[in-house]
Amino acid sequence: MTATFECRGLSKHFGATQALDGVNISIAPGRVVGLLGPNGSGKTTLIKLANGLLSPSEGEILICGSRPGPETKAVVSYLPDKTCMPQWMNAQQLMDFFQDFYGDFDRQRAEEMLGRLGLDQKQKLSQMSKGTKEKVQLIMVMSRKAKLYLLDEPIGGVDPATRDYILDTIIRNYDPEAVVIISTHLISDVEKVLDEVLFINQGKVTLQASVDDIRQQYGMSVDEYFREVFKC
């Protein structure tokens, strides 16, 4: 079976700074994976490479067997770690936009989620609070029936109630045949939804294991094990 997400000897450097160093990863369909690592470990760089926002210095990254390009972007749903939706748009215009470009966008699902949020669909993003903007952005991303969801710090900088909403939205809406990669360092919050984890540090993947294996092998939660491994 072709891996949904695969890296082969992937390296990326910015001048003298090595952001990723010979990364090898293979993730089969139907897994929810936590990309865990301290700040500056290379998580965002890896996600940007998968989205074609950066080009590898060495090695390659494959999405469903293809290098990032318009074809892979059609099957990847990406949530960046910042608000990237045009601020002048309202929720309806955003849905029009997503519907125009993504054949896998489920408008009905998006409308249902926006309805549950009690949001006025005519309200512009610029008039919304930061938390609401993030929720709207997440709704757009999770309303796609993508093969790969790349979620960069989806729960960073939001209150605990919003964190629960975000994680609930992710788990309720992703396609079971898809891969979900959640990049975060807030492990205790996401641990419950993960099947697998990837530890990344200083540009190198130091561990790829299932959550159950970590619990059995080390007798501790992923959060505790992470703290143990990355102890300063």
Partner: protein
């Protein structure tokens, strides 16, 4: 996908451009009416102040439309592709070429709209200025029949050709202007810091580079043995006057295509390989 990009780009930029266009057209009507009002006044008095303000607004409105057409070109590229929105735009299933072409086509549309707005504003001001605007259809018919006869004498194919060539030239000139900004911003925003400053420096650098390049090409051509002799031996007497205009226009188009290509290639390469989103 290019059509969809153009549609959304028109929506995004139209929010800024359309109010300016409508306001400037409104002021042109007001200017025409105030001129008519001034002509009817016995004692000018306070009306001259109103007249002065309206004429100022009319001129300022037209200038604002022209300036905004350039500002929109720069700002849409910077904000939509190189700013936070770039995370959304560059993860759409479209190529970098489609992104650049959509921006170029929409910029051309706004340049054309700006030109038409200026023309329409003048016409509106004149029409509102006269008391009774009557069309003498006999005269209009005469003008058109004379125009038709002139076209027939000159050759309808030549005229159609000129129109197409001028349209391509207009698009090429607009494209070169936009691509100069795009290339400068693509260079400037590939740096980690001082992106705006680096873009301005890149813009100045591109301008100097092209001035030097153009001079060098002319000098080089002059010094290549045989080029001068070839030019002297060119027998242009066999080419009609209408044909020689085509040669000049096509030569200019070729120059614009080369100029645009030299700017397009690095812009595309930088957006594809050296994208540096914030």
């Amino acid at each position: 996908m290019l059509g969809k990009l153009i549609k959304h780009e028109l929506r995004g930029s139209g929010r800024t451009m359309l109010p300016f266009i409508l306001v400037s057209l409104f002021f042109s009507v007001m200017a025409g009416l105030s001129i008519r009002g001034l002509e009817r006044q016995q004692d000018y008095g306070w009306f001259t102040v109103v007249f002065g303000i309206v004429i100022f607004l009319f001129v300022a409105g037209l200038m604002a439309v022209c300036i905004m057409s350039i500002v929109v070109v720069i700002n849409r590229f910077r904000q939509n592709l190189l700013g936070d929105e770039g995370y959304l735009m560059f993860t759409l299933p479209v190529s970098v070429d489609e992104h650049i072409w959509s921006k170029l086509i929409v910029s051309f549309i706004w340049f054309a709209a700006t030109f038409l707005t200026c023309m329409l504003a003048m016409v509106l001001m004149l029409v509102c200025n006269v008391d009774q605007f009557e069309v003498n259809w006999t005269e209009v018919g005469y003008v058109f029949s004379e125009l038709g006869r002139a076209l027939k004498n000159f050759g309808i194919l030549h005229i159609v050709g000129y129109c197409l060539e001028l349209l391509v030239m207009a698009f090429g000139s607009a494209g070169v202007t936009c691509l100069t900004f795009y290339c400068a911003m693509a260079i400037g925003y590939s740096f980690s810091n001082r992106k705006v400053l680096m873009s301005i420096l890149a813009f100045i650098g591109i301008d100097i580079l092209f001035t030097v390049l153009q001079s060098s090409v002319v000098m080089l051509l002059n010094n290549i043995p045989g080029v001068e002799r070839f030019m002297e031996n060119l027998d242009l007497s066999r080419v009609s006057a209408a044909g020689s205009v085509h040669i000049v226009l096509l030569g200019w188009i070729l120059y614009l295509v080369v100029y645009a290509a030299v700017l397009y290639i690095p812009t595309r390469l930088l957006l594809k390989k050296k994208l540096n989103l914030p």
